[in-house]
C-alpha cells in the first residue's frame, strides 16, 4: 500500500518538472529574440537614419515649439521646436557610441590588469588587487565626475571617465578565472614544454577568460550609457547642444513641470528599451556560459 502511494506521488513529478523547464526555455528563447530584434533595430536606426534622412536635427522652429506628438512630429518637438524623434535617434547614436567605446576600453584595461595580476601572482597580485579594492571603495560616479570635471565638456572626457571607473569588476572576474585556470595540469604541461610566462598567459589563460570578459563588456554597454546620461543630466557630460539621451532628458526637465510629458518620455524610453535589450542579450549569453547563474541586469 505504501509503495503504491509512493509511486503515485513520485510519478507525475517528472513531467511537471519537464514542462516547467520547457516553459522556461521558451521564455528564454522569446526574450532572446525580442532583445536581438530591438538591438538590431536600434543599431540600424542610429547607423542608417543620419545618412539617409536629410533632415537637420538642430533645425530650430520657434513657431512649432513644444508641440505634442503629431503626424509631422511623431515624438513632438522640444522647447525650441526641434523634432524630437530625430533628436532621439541622434542622441541614441551618441549615447551608444559612448557606451560601446567606454565598455570596450574598460574591458581591455580590466582584462589586462586582471590577467597580469592572476598570471604573475604573489606580491604583484596582492599589490594590484589592493589597488583595485581601494579604487572600488570610492563611489564610481563620484570618481567619474572628478575625471570629467578635469576636461572641457565633450564626448571623449565622458568616455574616459566611464572607462577609467569601470574596469575594476572586469579585472576581478578575469583575475579569478586566471587563478582557477593557472592551477590546471595543462598549464603545468605548457611550463614543462618550455612556454614563457607570456606565452602561457596569451595562449592558454586569456582564451579561457575571453567569454567572461566579453560578457562583462556587453553588460557594461547599458551601464556606460546610463552613466553618460547621468553625467549629462548633471550638466557635467556633453554640452547641451549635442544631442545625447542625457542632455535631452536634462533639457526637458523644465517643460515636464509645465505638463509637457513628451520631451522626457521619449528620450527616457530610448534609454531604457535598448539598454534592457542589450542586457537581455547578455543574459542569454551568460546562460550559455553558465546555466546555473540566473541572469540579472547589472546597473
Amino acid at each position: 500500500m505504501t509503495s503504491d502511494v509512493d509511486a503515485a506521488a513520485v510519478k507525475p513529478a517528472a513531467p511537471v518538472w519537464r514542462a516547467h523547464g520547457g516553459a522556461r526555455r521558451s521564455t528564454h528563447a522569446l526574450r532572446l529574440r525580442v532583445s536581438a530584434a530591438l538591438v538590431a533595430v536600434t543599431v540600424l536606426a542610429v547607423l542608417l537614419v543620419p545618412p539617409l534622412v536629410q533632415l537637420d536635427q538642430q533645425a530650430v522652429d520657434l513657431a512649432a515649439k513644444l508641440e505634442p506628438p503629431s503626424w509631422a512630429h511623431p515624438f513632438g518637438t522640444d522647447d525650441v521646436g526641434r523634432d524630437l524623434l530625430l533628436r532621439c535617434v541622434y542622441g541614441l547614436r551618441v549615447s551608444l557610441l559612448v557606451g560601446v567605446v567606454a565598455a570596450l576600453t574598460a574591458t581591455v584595461i580590466g582584462t589586462a590588469v586582471g590577467a597580469a595580476a592572476g598570471a604573475l601572482g604573489g606580491r604583484a597580485d596582492r599589490l594590484v588587487m589592493r589597488l583595485v579594492d581601494t579604487l572600488s571603495s570610492v563611489p564610481h560616479l563620484l570618481l567619474g565626475i572628478f575625471i570629467v570635471a578635469m576636461f572641457r565638456p565633450g564626448v571623449w572626457p565622458v568616455v574616459i571617465s566611464v572607462a577609467l571607473t569601470h574596469w575594476l569588476s572586469t579585472a576581478r572576474i578575469v583575475r579569478a578565472e586566471v587563478l582557477s585556470l593557472r592551477s590546471r595540469p595543462f598549464v603545468d604541461a605548457a611550463v614543462s614544454g618550455g612556454s614563457s610566462r607570456w606565452r602561457v598567459t596569451v595562449r592558454h589563460l586569456l582564451p579561457g577568460v575571453l567569454p567572461q570578459a566579453g560578457l562583462a563588456a556587453v553588460l557594461m554597454v547599458p551601464h556606460a550609457m546610463w552613466h553618460e546620461s547621468a553625467l549629462s543630466f548633471l550638466g557635467l557630460g556633453l554640452p547641451t547642444h549635442t544631442a545625447s539621451l542625457g542632455t535631452l532628458i536634462q533639457s526637458a526637465r523644465g517643460s515636464l513641470l509645465a505638463g509637457q510629458w513628451w520631451p522626457t518620455l521619449f528620450p527616457g524610453l530610448f534609454l531604457i528599451v535598448p539598454t534592457l535589450a542589450v542586457a537581455g542579450l547578455a543574459g542569454a549569453w551568460r546562460e550559455r556560459i553558465n546555466p546555473r547563474r540566473r541572469s540579472e541586469l547589472m546597473l
Binding site: D188, A189, V191, G193, G194, S196, R197
Partner: protein, 219 residues
Amino acid sequence: MLELRAVTAGYDRRAPVVRDANLTVAPGEAVGLLGPSGCGKSTLARVAALLHRPDAGEIVLDGTPVRGFRHRAPREQRTAIGVVFQQPRLAADPRLRLADLIAEPLRATGRRASAADRVAGLADTVGLTPDLLGRRPHEVSDGQLQRACLARALALHPRWLVCDEMTAMLDASTTAALVRVVEDYRASTGAGLLSVGHDRTLLNRWCDRTVPWEAVAAS
C-alpha cells in the same frame, strides 16, 4: 642523474605533503615509485619535473643543482624533463586540436618550421591516426588523448621522463601500447624514467627497480 635530496614539499608550509624524500634516477634507468593514493607521490613527481618548488631540499639535474622552479627554471632544464600526467582531460588545453597540442612545446621553443614533420612522426610513434590530429580533446577518448599527451612530452627529446600515474585512466591494451612507446623511446635515446604509480605488477614489469614510498620519504 636526476637526484632529489631531502625534499620536503607541499601546499602549506606547516603541513608538508612530502617529508624528507630522497630518490635518484641514473641515466637510462627506469625507476618505479610505488605508493598508495594520497601519499604525496604526485607532488614529488611535480617537484622532480621542476613544476613545484619544494619547501626544503635540493634537486640536482645532470650534476647541476636546480635554482628555480616553474618559470624560474631555465628553459633547458625544464624541457630536459618530459612529463605525462594522470588525467589527460585536465592536462590538455580544451581549445587546442591534437596536432596543436603536440606541436605546442615545439612552437614555444621556436621550432615552428620543423613542427609539422615532427608532429607527424610523433603521432605515428604513439599510434594516432592523421584524422585524430584534427580533433579537439572532447572529441577523442581518454586513451587517444593520453597518447597525444605522451607525444607532447616526447616532442623536445627529453633526457628524463616523469610519468605520474600515466596509465591510471586507461584500459590494459592502451596501457601496454603506451608503456611500449616509452620503452622504445628510452631504448633509442637512453633517457631515464621516473614512473609514479600504485600498480605494483605494472611497475615491477615496466621498471628496472621499484621503490616503495616508505623507502623514499619519511612518514
